[in-house]
Symmetry: D3
């Protein structure tokens, strides 16, 4: 049972954050477990709607995950691999785009159903995400996999200003009109930069960066950019966390104030990170 | 060889139309042959981009056509039929939405590639198209086929005002969150009404309404609403033309000034209809 | 120890209230114990500053209390009494105005010191509070005691819009230029009406309206206007509570949505009443 | 007979120019044959009205021509000549101003009669054209002949923004309040500069600059500024064309993008020059 | 020698009038002696410039007077008379327009020379004064003499708002494009109505309305509309004063607050009438 | 008896000043005799109201004068003296603030009663006047006497723009929240600087600076800053006039255009100084 004074304490703690982030933009990479579990989905979307209620501007960039593989399988499209990477050939790209499009509108409908006002966009809309072909590390052709070459944020800015929560598919387009599939973390980071966002939040399926991966009590709340190389060297940051941390660094170096790696498995993790002193994940900051 | 005076004559003829329609909204149902042939596609999109250049606001509603059937076939989804109508069950609806989503972004990219600025939307975005379940004429359940119950035009108005050409998929959503497939002519008509559009243009694969269907020289340039029942009775308007004419009438009765049934097989038919005295198709007007 | 989920729950509960009251005006009658105790003073002012942070517009009307008596005593001004009421003669009125002026600026300085931006006003500024002479119930002359005849809210609206928290002394002026001392509850109610405030909050030194005055567990959370006469008849509302409830009724009848009688002795009682489902005092509503 | 496709082609060609010049200002020196023939007058004014319709801002500077001589003759005012130039003495200046004023309002009424909205101004209005006394090349006094010393474009900008087509008489005023008659080409050039116009068009009674003056097929469509001295040297540009070309050069050097010498005897020559790829006269450009 | 206190008294008297008329429009019919004498001209224009300085918007309508007759004489144009009225045939109308145009720009230049900003307009500009042919009282054709059928005040409003003092020639245009000469008092009255002016001032060559025309001490300062018929009957108002009073009545009946008949022979009569309690001429008011 | 022409002359003289100062801010230090005599009070307030009427923005800073001493006496508070200066201990400061507050609202009510709209502020409102402790020249502690460290003019600017005449008490607040009494001339000078005022006017009880203090005919109308040291040296400026002149110099050096030392005993001295060529006091200018 929470006492009135405790309640008041939480409010006194939260209200300055509401003021601080009012009118600010927060880009959220939405993916992983939080995209599969119905309760978590609803909790994430509730957080977005509530933030928008109080004047904060969330922007969602979502991944595609297992549904793409499922649809490729259903259509009997077999993937080739080059240097261990799946090649996104033209038929695959078509499936990627279709599945992302469907997921995009599902998220939009979920937000709208909770009382928010959402618009789903792909990187093709208003040339939102300009892209170029990307090659594997050993320079092999892996098909229609792209990297961001530019972001045209005007449309996003317009829909944000008009009160909508934009939801973006990580599809890009080249100046020649080719469609590319792009890593969603990277897209979120580039959009955060282009929107001069205050925060980039990447939802993951881990607690954040743990000093000792076996012990959740060793969560590192704040990491300075200058300390990251050493943490990678020491193996504290490793595997799939490395590109996520690199996305954070990229965003910070191009003007985003703070970036967060949050546990998407904790309900309302976004709200707790934004509105409480302590937060719940790992925040990556410039200094 | 066109003489300077003839050129000047065409300009003197066209400029007052540019003034007349400047700032006005024109909703175009895009479908049929004009959606399959690459040259016609480009001519249609060029017309849209040029109209936008001179201050007219085109809005596109597109159909899905043969690609949906193709994808259903590839996925081995067999359609059931009730009272001769294809039943849109849940797996079919999913395919419809995915294919429409892909076509939508293709149109968007084509417009953007021609120097326009386009945004693709589905009826789910910002609850643009609210829908209810529709039954067959003999009250059979035909699945996720819907009819429009309302249009929320604010998002369209915003993107139009910001200089974009909106492209809309004919997908609706119910207040319970169900997705419905809706006839694109109907959606175009409802959107024209909601936007207080000046014109509704339906691209078809015929010349317009012909007095004698065997003789293209008998094209009826203008039809008054009051004459339509008699034309249907006489068989001049028949078959697939009837629902198209009904969409026109619906739009006119709810405030759209003029509606047009144009031959989508003629390049630049939209431009010719809007900017010349004579036009090329059939215009349906109130009186 | 409050769990993250409990914290999130309080935020999920509070955020819709922030949206609901954003841009709304709340008039607070500040007096009693909350004006004497340094910690309570600071808690009240913190609540005001935080509400302003999140877009709510608090307006303070304060009383004068024991300081006036103290200063009259120091100056050797002895009060006459008529029908048991203290007569506010000219020298007394001068003291009242001086003491209220000093208290007013103290409150202003306290709010400014907490990071807010406050402006202190008297009813003479911009003819904010127009007043007439008031007589005792048995029509005796009790000097410069006034009743509100009109409120000119433009200045308040200006300073509110510019981001200030106005603090108002309950001094009025007549069209003949006479200064009057007015009951602060009445002034708060009249200002709430003139500002089309959403809420009127009266801080008192009791828990609210108790069904059984001996048992704090019998607090009545919500009272409908129609039930008030019966509650007075039954003695549940009695003594000094009656004029306070009458001020609430007056405000409701002239357009204020809800009115609250709160225990000023509970720290942050305003925040708890405004931002939680349950609240802590008695809310008087129209039906 | 022009085919639909040819018509469409002309529109597809013209619309980008409409976009390009939308909101831009075009200053037209109106004089010569186009000012005497009723059909040409109407064609020129139609062009101006149509350009204004589609968002382009034409500004007219007109000459006076034979009417001034006629009126001097009627009034029995005989001109003196100095170094072969007519001396504009005070009585002559009075006649010049009166005749220009009458022509000015005739043009205004003609534009208004065609559905445009026009305002006639002299250089005295709002001190639009400031002028100083000009002397003949051999420094003889030739009376009230002036040269432009400054342009105050605010009034022109105001009437343009309000949707009017301004028509300007080439009369200037000195800081001492003296009235001066000024060459209309020079005034048009100075106004084009002051308005940061996009184009200066000088209507003449020749085809443009011809490589061989006997052969209209040798029209030079585009002349670069750097080539002009050589063309003068070669005698391709000679006589009355030289000061016109100098006005163009002056305008280009002070920020006007392009200047045109058009044949005012061709109906709608302005429209053809502005809205077609090929144009019909000689365009003088910076490089 | 005026004492400081007397000076202060005049200022204390004048300042409330400045407030009262700030932003208001005053239409002045300028004619008679005040248009011939150089010192009076300058005093009138100074008054206009000073009024504009302090936020009042004067509009001038001027007559033509003796200059027209002079020019007709110089050109040897002899006037015909019908029912005792001069017939304005086409050559006469041309002279009227030219002379009015010249006078118009002279006034404009005079105002500009005194530090004001003035624009001269004819009734043809922006179709400012629409007119129809007028016949003599006994229905004889008197040529191009017109009566006002409508005023399009938008252009006047624009130039007023931009800080200019408009000066208007009493020339009107019919919907068929015919030019008409109109009585300047009538034009001033019609413009005052169209501009919703606060005052109409008619400068004359008499003191105002005198009870006894032989005795200047009998000036009637204020006349109510209802008393005018009786004053005409009694011969107090007679001759040329009758149409002037009728113009005043017309203006008052269509919304102009007050109208004034002032002695144009008194320097600064406008300033004295507008800024002092007593005024100097006759004011005609509604009641 | 003043003739119409003399009246007109005064108006012609005054109107350009009205234009010149329209929209400008004039800070008036109000004190001395003009604050004690009822007629002078009313004349000063009339001047302020009239200036506001015609678009000038007066701001009043008032002193406290003899009333503070009276109240200290009544309360039996005896002042200590250090180095000949009265020490403002805490009880004294409380009295100062109360008396200034009362005088402030009296001035406000007087302006409002004359048809103006006034707001009274203390330096605590919106942290208007930030202050630090000041020591005597020989570094003795003289209590809560302060010097201005900063002015936050936003609130003043807001109320000025909304049409109010602000009246300011010379009370400042430190960043630690301590209240200080500050010399009113200094406060007026600092506010004039912060508001980028056009004029600072200090009302005194002398004629201005006299070349020979025995002879009022030797008033120096204009003093240049560079001449002041010599005038002090020669004893022309001496005693209490020195700090006033220093306040003027301070204001001029920080951007105030002109400063005036006026005789507050002359009725309407402000109006005469601002609106006549000759003025009545001493103007201190930069060069």
């Amino acid at each position: 049972m929470i006492s009135p004074l405790e309640k008041a304490g939480i409010l006194v703690e939260a209200l300055p954050y509401i003021k601080k982030f009012s009118g600010k933009t927060i880009v959220i990479k939405y993916g992983g477990h939080a995209m599969l579990n119905a309760d978590l989905k609803k909790a994430v979307m509730t957080d977005l709607v509530l933030m928008k209620f109080v004047g904060i501007n969330p922007v969602v960039v979502h991944g595609g995950g297992p549904e793409i593989t499922g649809m490729l399988h259903r259509l009997g499209i077999e993937s080739q691999f080059v240097s261990g990477l799946r090649v996104t050939d033209a038929p695959t790209m078509e499936v990627v785009e279709m599945v992302l499009g469907k997921l995009n509108k599902e998220i939009v409908a979920l937000i709208n159903g909770l009382g928010g006002r959402s618009v789903g966009l792909s990187g093709k809309d208003a040339n939102l995400i300009m892209a170029n072909k990307k090659y594997s590390n050993d320079c092999q052709d892996i098909g229609f996999v792209g990297e961001v070459t530019g972001v045209n944020p005007q449309l996003l800015q317009t829909v944000i200003q008009e009160g909508y929560i934009p939801v973006v598919s990580p599809v890009g387009i080249s100046t020649e009109g080719e469609t590319y599939n792009i890593n969603a973390d990277t897209v979120a980071s580039a959009i955060a930069t282009a929107l001069k966002a205050d925060k980039l939040i990447i939802l993951t399926d881990v607690e954040g960066i743990l000093e000792d991966r076996q012990d959740k009590g060793t969560l590192i709340s704040t990491v300075k950019m200058e300390d990251i190389p050493r943490l990678i060297e020491r193996g504290v940051i490793q595997g799939g966390m490395i590109p996520k941390v690199e996305c954070c660094m990229q965003a910070i170096q191009t003007g985003v104030a703070t970036t967060h790696i949050l546990d998407g498995r904790v309900p309302h993790s976004i709200l707790l990170e934004v509105f409480t002193d302590k937060g719940i994940g790992t925040m990556v900051v410039s200094d």
